[in-house]
């Protein structure tokens, strides 16, 4: 019997007197795509950053299991170990590409950085890998030496994705990956993400307020409101048969296209 990759129990996160997440528990399995939906301020991004090791929870545990290894608490392990896992085993695609990219480093440098962090020193191999990943996320490898600032918003999102996938992570965290993109670019990114998830058997946690994106990309959904998970289940169960008043409000508020 396989075990989950990620095990979260009773996670709370407060900022001073403000509670951003309360009593969140979840298991994430290899190859599974979990969506977290809810309106702005519901604690989705805070939760994601706690899972990814960027924010320390106030209470509760986030445990990650490396291949064949035991569960390790992301927030109780040593700093060096956590940094190593964050660079190799998972990555976070930020809503704002400027938070996820190094803007003063070329596109190729952005992609190569995680390889170097994982110990690769051979320049030719790093560059070849960077070219191959730029191509896989549908960026022109001819622009490898350009700075990310010269790329459009959608291209910057894809560069963030390439930067993370190059280290063959087991989990990718996505924070509103289609937010701020125009719809034709959104569709392209959705298609790309869906294929990468299938071909690389990635586990993904995706925060979005777009229920259409959630339906097409995710297997399972958690609905958050004011820091708490009010409903969870298979994505189509939650969207077609929402039980909680807040889930019903979310689903009924979508403007069909």
């Amino acid at each position: 019997m396989t075990e989950p990759l990620l095990r979260v129990r009773g996670l709370d996160k407060s900022f001073g007197r403000v509670t951003a997440c309360r009593a969140v528990s979840l298991d994430l399995w290899p190859g599974e795509v979990l969506g977290i939906v809810g309106e702005s301020g519901s604690g989705k991004t805070t939760l994601l950053r706690c899972l990814a090791g960027e924010l320390e929870p106030t209470a509760g545990s986030v445990e990650f299991r490396a291949a064949e290894g035991p569960f390790e608490d992301v927030h109780r392990m040593g700093e060096a170990r956590r940094r190593y896992l964050m660079r190799t085993q998972w990555g976070i695609v930020h809503q704002n590409p400027r938070d996820g990219l190094r803007m003063r480093v070329s596109a190729g440098g952005n992609v190569g950085e995680r390889l170097m962090a994982a110990g690769e020193r051979h320049y030719g191999r790093i560059r070849a890998e960077a070219v191959s990943w730029l191509d896989r996320v549908e960026l022109d490898p001819g622009r490898i030496d350009e700075l990310p600032a010269l790329f459009s918003g959608g291209m910057q999102q894809r560069l963030q994705i390439a930067r993370i996938l190059v280290s063959r992570p087991r989990i990718v965290y996505l924070d509103e990956p289609t937010g701020g993109l125009d719809v034709s670019i959104q569709a392209r990114l959705l298609d790309l993400l869906r294929r990468l998830v299938r071909d690389l058997a990635l586990a993904v946690v995706i925060v979005t307020h777009d229920l259409g994106v959630a339906r097409l990309l995710t297997d399972r959904l958690m609905v958050m409101r004011r820091g708490e998970v009010v409903e969870e289940g298979l994505t189509d169960q939650v969207l077609d048969d929402p039980r909680h008043a807040y889930s019903q409000l979310l689903v009924s508020s979508v403007i069909g296209a």
């Binding site: 298609d191 289940g233 077609d240 048969d241 019903q248 409000l249």
Partner: protein, 231 residues
């Protein structure tokens, strides 16, 4: 002979929190069994729960009470109590579903949408593409459309892509919700042939067939639902 689907004392209601907590009872104490290789047609006026039954079997709606036991190739899974992961695995291995609407990622070509369903069920890519092409051919989708995303297709063409997606993986249980609703007679006949072939290879079918000719052509048994069942 073991039943492929066994529903026992199934209740399903919807509580509309945004409408002052109005409760809609759709299914109440429903029990039914479908034998392996049998085709059961669900019949009855709108609102009697035909689609709801299909969706409860598919794991799309969560029952209030009761059991929905599905027996595919291997173990029996009670969909009413299964974990999301188990339901997803059951869908890939066992449950083909043709819904009334086509919901897909924009920009993806029609043939890819069909072949990915076969791939998800473990069919190798070359074989999946061959099967997708064969079924699109059978459903009279013009070749020029295969490489286009279905967003711009006519209603009937989209419905046929949906039928192709539901049937291409050749799962042992097929759930068909009005598969011929917006089809002309040639295409209705094509769907009837495909469903009969599925039965011939031993598939169990539960369907809602608005069209009487289609129903007569494929169903072994008809279950008539009425308001009393739904009250």
């Amino acid at each position: 002979m073991a039943a492929a689907i066994e529903i026992e004392s199934l209740d399903k209601s919807f509580t509309l929190h945004l409408r002052g907590g109005t409760e809609l009872k759709v299914l109440s104490g429903l029990s039914l069994a479908v034998e392996r290789g049998e085709c059961l047609a669900l019949q009855g006026p709108s609102g009697t729960g035909k689609s709801t039954i299909l969706r409860c079997i598919y794991g799309n709606y969560r029952p209030d009470r009761g059991h929905v036991r599905v027996r595919g190739g291997g173990d029996t899974v009670d969909v009413a109590f299964a974990e999301p992961r188990e339901i997803l695995a059951l869908r890939r291995s066992t449950l083909g579903y043709v819904s009334q609407f086509l919901r897909v990622v924009p920009r993806v070509p029609a043939i890819d949408l069909v072949m990915e369903r076969a791939q998800e069920s473990g069919v190798e890519p070359d074989m999946a593409r061959a099967r997708a092409a064969a079924i699109l051919e059978r459903l009279h989708i013009p070749h020029a459309l295969w490489s286009l995303p279905p967003a711009t297709f006519s209603g009937g063409e989209q419905q046929r892509i949906n039928v192709a997606r539901g049937l291409v993986a050749e799962q042992p249980i097929l759930l068909l919700d009005e598969p011929t609703a917006s089809l002309d007679s040639d295409n209705r006949a094509a769907v009837v042939d495909l469903v009969r072939e599925a039965k011939a290879r031993g598939a169990t079918v539960v369907g809602v067939f608005h069209d009487r000719e289609v129903r007569d052509a494929v169903a072994d048994r008809v279950l008539v639902l009425d308001k009393a069942e739904a009250a």
